[in-house]
C-alpha cells in the first residue's frame, strides 16, 4: 500500500514463505536489530557533529569543517580514532563492573529507540505499555553510570556517579508525572494509539495550558535526565574533570559519549511523540504520503534537540543542591497541581479538538 515501506511487508512475506516460522521470525529480529543499530550509530554520530557545529555557531566559531564536505565525516573519523585507541584502565579498578558499565548505558538507550513510531508502520516494537517501557528503560542507563563511577576506583568518578544517582532518582519523578499528565488526555500508553489520538490535534494544542506546562517541565527534567548542561553535574568538567568517565578511554568512552547523544535524541523523540504528534504533519498537509512522516518526525525532534543545545551553550551549570531544590520545590509541586488541572479539564471536556 505504501511505496517504500511496502518493502518491509514484502520481506516479511517472503521470509515466512521461504522458512519455517521460527527461523523466519528469528531472521526478521536480527534484520530489525541490524537496521536499528545502523540508525543508532548514524544518529549518534550525526548528533555529535550537529552539536559541535551548532556550538561553534553560537560561539562565533566555525566548528569542524575539514573531514568531508563541511566536516560531515568528522565524527566518523573520530569514531575510527577512538576504535583504534588503547583501552586503558586503573589497576585497582573493579574490572568486571568497569567493563560492564558502558554496555549498560548503550544497551538501554538502544532499547528505548525501538519503540518510537518514526512513521506509520515504521515501528519495531509497538508494545501496549510503550510510554511506561520508555521511562523504565531510559532510567536503566543510570545504573551504567553508577557502575562506571564505582568501578573505576577514582574519587572524581565516584562523586560524578553519586551525583548522577541523586539526579536521576529526583528527575525521574518529573519525567513520569509530566508524561502522565498527557496520558490523562490520550487514555493509552501505547505509542501508536497516542499518535492516533493526535489526529484530532496535537496534544500540546488539545491540552493547551496544562499541556504547555507539562511540556516545559518535561523538557527541563529531560535535560536533567540526559545529564546535559545546565544539569551536567555528572561530568561537570570544571569541577570533576570528566566525572564518571574519567578513567575510560577508546571505544568504551565512545559508548558513553554516543549514549549521551542518543539519550538526548530519545528525550526529544518522546516529547515529539507525546506533545507534537510524532509523524503527523502540521494541519495534515502530507497525510497521504506516510513516508514523509519520517521527515516530520525527525524535523520536530531535531527542533527540540536544537532547543536543548541552545540551553547547553547558554546557561551556567546548577549546583547539586540547587538541582534538587529545583526538582523538589518547583517542578514536582507544579507537576502535581498540573495533573489535577489536566484531570479536571479532561473531566469537564475543556480540551480543544479539531
Amino acid at each position: 500500500m505504501i511505496i517504500g515501506l511496502s518493502i518491509t511487508r514484502d520481506i516479511h512475506d517472503w521470509l515466512y514463505g521461504a522458512m519455517p516460522e521460527w527461523a523466519a521470525s528469528l531472521t526478521e529480529m536480527v534484520l530489525i536489530a541490524l537496521v536499528y543499530l545502523g540508525i543508532f550509530a548514524v544518529a549518534g554520530l550525526f548528533l555529535v557533529l550537529l552539536e559541535r557545529r551548532i556550538a561553534a555557531w553560537f560561539q562565533q566559531r566555525l566548528g569542524p569543517n575539514r573531514v568531508g564536505f563541511q566536516g560531515l565525516l568528522q565524527t566518523m573519523a573520530d569514531a575510527l580514532k577512538l576504535l583504534s585507541k588503547e583501552l586503558t584502565g586503573t589497576t585497582k579498578a573493579d574490572t568486571f563492573l568497569y567493563n560492564l558499565a558502558p554496555y549498560f548505558v548503550i544497551i538501554s538507550s538502544l532499547m528505548a529507540l525501538s519503540v518510537f513510531p518514526f512513521t506509520r508502520e515504521f515501528q519495531a516494537f509497538d508494545i501496549n505499555i510503550g510510554l511506561f517501557f520508555l521511562i523504565a528503560v531510559s532510567s536503566i542507563g543510570v545504573i551504567g553510570i553508577l557502575l562506571g563511577g564505582w568501578g573505576s576506583n577514582n574519587k572524581y568518578a565516584l562523586i560524578g556517579a553519586m551525583r548522577s544517582g541523586v539526579q536521576t532518582i529526583s528527575y525521574e519523578l518529573s519525567v513520569g508525572l509530566s508524561l502522565l499528565t498527557m496520558v490523562l488526555l490520550t487514555g493509552t500508553l501505547q505509542l501508536s494509539q497516542i499518535v492516533e489520538v493526535q489526529k484530532s490535534g496535537w496534544l500540546i494544542v488539545q491540552g493547551h495550558i496544562p499541556a504547555i506546562v507539562a511540556f516545559m517541565i518535561f523538557m527541563i527534567s529531560g535535560t536533567a535526565e540526559t545529564n546535559r548542561a545546565p544539569f551536567d553535574m555528572v561530568e561537570a568538567e570544571s569541577e570533576l574533570g570528566a566525572g564518571f568517565h574519567t578513567e575510560y578511554s577508546g571505544m568504551k568512552f565512545a559508548y558513553f559519549f554516543l549514549a549521551e547523544f542518543i539519550n538526548m535524541f530519545i528525550i526529544c523523540a518522546i516529547a515529539t511523540t507525546v506533545f507534537f504528534g510524532a509523524w503527523l504533519s502540521p494541519f495534515g498537509i502530507t497525510e497521504s504520503i506516510p513516508l514523509l512522516g519520517v521527515f516530520w518526525f525527525l524535523l520536530k525532534t531535531l527542533m527540540l534537540v536544537f532547543l536543548m543545545m541552545w540551553f547547553r551553550w547558554t546557561f551556567p551549570r546548577l549546583r547539586i543542591d540547587q538541582l534538587l531544590t529545583l526538582e523538589w520545590k518547583y517542578l514536582l509541586p507544579m507537576n502535581l497541581v498540573n495533573i489535577v488541572i489536566m484531570a479536571v479539564m479532561v473531566w469537564l471536556n475543556l480540551t480543544i479538538k479539531f
Binding site: W57, F58, R61, L62, T314
Partner: protein
C-alpha cells in the same frame, strides 16, 4: 506570591541569556571570529613591530651594519646573542677595526624582550615577523645571522 514571581523573573532572565546566544547563532553566517590558520597563510600579515625573531638585514651588496660592538650581547638578559669577533684592517679607512666573524643568535633562549634591538647603535638587527619558529631539531634554533661572506657597510661607525 514571591514563589511565582521568582519563577517568572528567573525564566525571563534565562530567555534574555538565550536571546544573546540566539542572536549570534543567527548572525553566524556573517563569519567567525576565529581564523583558519594554515589556510590563510598567504593573507596573514603580522604587524610590523611584531617580535618574531631577531634578523640582521643585509643589502644587495651582502653588507650589514653590525660593527661588533657587543652592546646587544650585554643587554640580552638570557645570553641568546653571542658575537664572535676579530680585529682586522678596515678596507675603507685602513685602520685596525673590530669585525664580526659570527653573530650567533640562540632563538631557543630568546624571550623577545627587544632590549638588543633597542640598544643597537647602528640598527644592524631588527625584528622579523616570522612566527612559525618550530623545528624538529634544537640545533636549528641556533642561527648565525650574518650571511657568509658578508661585510660591514662602509662608513658605519658606532
Amino acid at each position: 506570591m514571591s514563589y511565582f514571581s521568582e519563577i517568572y523573573n528567573g525564566v525571563i532572565t534565562l530567555l534574555k541569556g538565550m536571546s544573546v546566544t540566539g542572536k549570534y547563532f543567527l548572525n553566524s553566517r556573517k563569519g567567525a571570529i576565529t581564523q583558519q590558520y594554515p589556510d590563510n597563510r598567504d593573507t596573514l600579515k603580522m604587524f610590523e613591530r611584531f617580535r618574531g625573531e631577531v634578523i640582521m638585514p643585509h643589502d644587495e651588496k651582502n653588507e650589514h651594519t653590525c660593527t661588533g660592538c657587543q652592546k646587544c650581547e650585554i643587554a640580552c638578559p638570557n645570553g641568546s646573542i653571542e658575537i664572535v669577533w676579530d680585529r682586522g684592517i678596515d678596507e675603507y679607512s685602513g685602520k685596525k677595526k673590530k669585525k664580526i666573524d659570527k653573530f650567533v643568535y640562540h632563538l631557543s633562549l630568546c624571550t623577545m624582550c627587544g632590549l638588543c634591538i633597542d640598544v643597537c647603535p647602528t640598527d644592524a638587527i631588527k625584528w622579523g615577523q616570522n612566527f612559525e619558529n618550530s623545528v624538529y631539531d634544537r640545533t636549528q634554533l641556533t642561527r648565525v645571522l650574518n650571511r657568509p661572506g658578508s661585510k660591514l657597510r662602509a662608513g658605519v661607525e658606532d
